[in-house]
């Protein structure tokens, strides 16, 4: 299956600082079609029929989410664009925002019409501060051109916390609270920001909206697989010739993405979906990329044969340990215990028992944690133990030999 540009349709084609250039490329025609010829429930219906799913990682049906918020009675509703792209190895939203801010605003304006939101936020991660003015200017221009009479949009800047990409933590952050996750239910479309119905969509999800409205749901749902319609934007990095952003139809194989496009060679493993993402061995290179298999945020990091898997998982755990909000016990204290085990493993102080403890701890964390971070934190640990168990056992055995030799007063180099 080929590359296909839907979310990235305007990137590199329009001038991101010029609304006229965006309009010349057909910008805002979808919005005008929605505003002038469609009722809110027709817009929602179209999105539902398209099969568009959340592109931030969870993959929930976008149309159902909108419908839930649309049906909830409230005098005030909110729309949030999640641009807190903090997932390790993900930079697709940065690329989109840099090249097509108007595309996002058009998507948001349509979403606002559909659910009846009067206020929208773009939650921009602090690390992307350089994009703040570009987005704010695009909002001002869109307003001046009369596309935002139904809704105000404000860029809200984060302050450096990965967990704020989790939707409930993100809402807490906008409310001026610590970016801690909330328990669910209540779900945001029913009770979200300041207790009001709120839709939170990833940048890429919203980029698909104008395309669907303009070309019809069928054009979109014709592409992709059973549960995964349309395209997906991937961020490819690691041991590849050509790291970057690629948009492929859903269901394309990993091989097409990392070998054909990004130019990877001698692949040992691939991590898909960031620090909490699945780790697949190189032999699974034919895996199709879709919600049915693995997708996450679309972060794809490639590891060549020289890489040590335990080191990589250790790095993942260090990241998650730093970024856990600390609200619930399993994630907060579990990641500390997990970090300690990995610290010991890579220092050559691991013991066989550590593997069993890692498995038991993973189970507690994935089942009992309050939010996705703690629940998914053990994924790379479990996957690496499944596919690369011998790397752990070899490392532990070597460590034991070294300890034995050293205890006998002998020196050893491995």
């Amino acid at each position: 299956m080929p590359e296909k540009r839907i979310a990235l349709r305007n990137c590199g084609i329009v001038d991101p600082r010029d609304i006229a250039s965006y309009r010349k490329a057909g910008g805002f025609t979808a919005f005008m079609k929605a505003r002038d010829t469609m009722k809110p429930d027709q817009i929602i219906d179209e999105i539902k029929k398209s099969g568009l799913t959340g592109r931030g990682g969870a993959g929930f049906s976008c149309g159902l989410k909108w419908e839930l918020a649309g049906n909830t009675k409230s005098s005030r509703k909110y729309l949030i664009c999640n641009a807190d792209e903090g997932e390790v190895g993900t930079f697709k939203d940065r690329y989109i925002l840099t090249h097509d801010p108007y595309g996002l605003i058009e998507g948001m304006c349509i979403a606002g019409l559909a659910i009846g939101a009067t206020k929208g936020f773009i939650y921009l991660r602090a690390e992307y501060h350089a994009l703040f003015n570009l987005l704010s200017d695009a909002i001002v221009e869109s307003k001046r051109n009369g596309f935002m009479s139904h809704m105000d949009i404000k860029v809200f800047e984060g302050a450096g916390a990965y967990i704020c990409g989790e939707e409930s933590a993100l809402m807490n952050s906008i409310e001026g609270r610590r970016g801690e996750s909330r328990f669910k239910p209540p779900y945001p479309p029913i009770q979200g920001l300041w207790g009001r119905p709120t839709i939170i969509n990833n940048v890429e999800t919203l980029m698909n909206v104008p395309y669907i409205i303009k070309n019809g749901a069928a054009a979109f749902s014709a592409i992709g697989t059973g549960r995964s319609k349309g395209t997906k934007v991937f961020s490819v990095s690691g041991d590849v010739e050509r790291p970057g952003v690629y948009e492929l139809t859903m269901g394309s194989s990993l091989n097409e993405l990392v070998v054909d496009l990004a130019g990877a060679q001698g692949i040992k493993a691939i991590q898909i979906g960031g620090a909490t993402g699945n780790i697949l061995p190189g032999r699974k290179i034919d895996t199709p990329l879709s919600h049915e298999t693995c997708l996450g945020s679309g972060a794809v990091v490639v590891f060549n044969q020289t890489r040590n898997i335990v080191d990589i998982v250790h790095n993942n755990i260090l990241f998650l340990h730093d970024e856990s909000c600390g609200k619930c016990t399993p994630c907060r204290d579990g990641l500390e215990a997990m970090k300690e085990i990995f610290d010991r493993l890579v220092k050559g102080e691991g013991i066989q028992e550590d593997i069993r403890v890692l498995e038991e701890l993973s189970k507690v964390m994935s089942l009992a944690s309050l939010c996705g971070l703690g629940q998914a934190a053990p994924v790379p640990v479990m996957d690496s133990l499944k596919f690369f168990r011998e790397e752990y056992t070899n490392l532990i055995q070597q460590s034991a030999y070294v300890r034995n030799y050293t205890a006998q007063g002998l020196s050893v180099t491995l």
Binding site: D93, A159, I174, D333, V364
Partner: protein, 374 residues
């Protein structure tokens, strides 16, 4: 067909239970005489769901939801003591034991510790999940009403709720994040008598003895312990709302480089939030530094994509060039260095940011050239 009013039902541990709309699993179970252990839960107060001791198995659910905050719904099938639940609950209790510095074996008061009791109920033996450096803080005896031994704290946050909603004072808050989280007062200072006096309500709600009555002090008369009376402060009109807090804090940082205790008190005054709450929010976020006024902040990524591309050697060369360690500031105050999480420039790995500018495809030999432009 004849329709009659039908009560909502669900099944807990094989028993059919009825419930009113909006009730939680915990409430319903307790009404039916089924005991689910809790730690952070406070009767008549909104649940926080932080301790995860009350997790239960709901058929069809991928994870184990907390009973204290999950609404029970029609037809739900719940298991409160299945082997899966008991194993996970035991794990959660073990983690709490490992993460705090308790001295339960020699402590004559250990019997009054709810965590200690939970551990014995769940037959927790030698900890599998060891934490070599558990949270440890010196005992604080400055306040004649409350003695704090935060090493025993398991971060259940009951004291925060008690102080805010029962005592109506809002002196305590949660500060920092992750494993470093801590119950704080003010800008993480000791509990002074300026605000905290003649009360001690929080002590009654602490499950582990992290808060206690100083030895020479009598317990507060029980009449003051009226649980459930909520005294919530309303912000006065005309003040910036809480939603202004982050923008205000960020403005202060861009103005003066960091957030001093004085600045935080100022912002707290403006927004009418307590100082501890302001500190609690600001200490959560990485981009709100509390010290180190510096002209140029260097943030270098250490996550997997940068790590693969020799990020570590670039960090070493940065340290050498600047003569400082991560977290430090050069003696002339020109640069600070932080090793941070993914900055979203993985396609240019290894990468760093100096203020807002991203520098990608770094190598150790490029560092000095880049620094010279500042």
């Amino acid at each position: 067909m004849f329709k009659r009013f039908k009560k909502k039902t669900a099944i807990i541990d094989g028993e059919k239970v009825t419930f009113r709309k909006g009730a939680t699993i915990l409430e319903t179970a307790r009404m039916a005489g089924i005991e689910i252990p809790t730690l952070c839960h406070m009767e008549n107060h909104p649940p926080t769901g932080v301790c995860r001791v009350c997790v239960v198995e709901v058929e069809g659910s991928r994870t184990l939801p907390g009973a204290c905050h999950t609404p029970i719904t029609e037809g739900m099938v719940i298991h409160t003591r299945s082997p899966k639940v008991l194993a996970v609950r035991q794990g959660v209790v073990e983690l709490m034991l490992s993460a705090h510095t308790g001295n339960c074996v020699n402590d004559p008061n250990a019997e009054s510790c709810k965590l200690h009791n939970l551990a014995s109920d769940h037959e927790v033996g030698a900890p599998r999940f060891t934490i070599t450096h558990p949270r440890f803080y010196p005992i604080e005896e400055k306040n004649p009403y409350v003695q704090r031994n935060l090493s025993k704290c398991i971060l259940c946050r009951r004291c925060i709720t008690a102080c805010e909603e029962i005592a109506g004072k809002n002196i305590m808050s949660i500060g920092y994040r992750g494993f470093k989280s801590k119950i704080i007062a003010g800008c993480d200072t000791s509990l002074t008598t300026d605000e905290c006096r003649n009360c001690g309500i929080c002590i009654e709600y602490c499950p582990t003895g992290a808060l206690s009555h100083p030895e020479n002090q009598h317990a507060v008369p029980p009449s003051r312990m009226t649980s459930g009376t909520t005294v919530k402060k309303q912000p006065p009109p005309g003040k910036p709302s809480r939603a202004e807090l982050l923008p205000l804090l960020k403005k202060e940082v861009s103005h003066s480089g960091c957030l001093s205790a004085e600045t935080m008190k100022l912002v707290a005054g403006k927004t009418d939030l307590s100082i501890s709450e302001t500190f609690g929010v600001s200490s959560f976020y990485a981009f709100l530094p509390r010290e180190g006024n510096t002209t140029n902040r260097i943030r270098i990524c250490r996550c997997v994509p940068c790590f693969l591309k020799q990020g570590a050697s670039v960090i070493t060369s940065l340290q050498k060039e600047l003569g400082i360690h991560p977290g430090g500031i050069t003696s002339d105050g020109k640069f600070s260095l932080e090793v941070v999480s993914c900055i979203g420039a993985c396609d240019q790995a290894p990468a760093m940011m100096i203020n807002e500018t991203v520098y990608g495809n770094l190598s150790p030999d490029k560092i000095s050239e880049i620094l010279q432009t500042y």
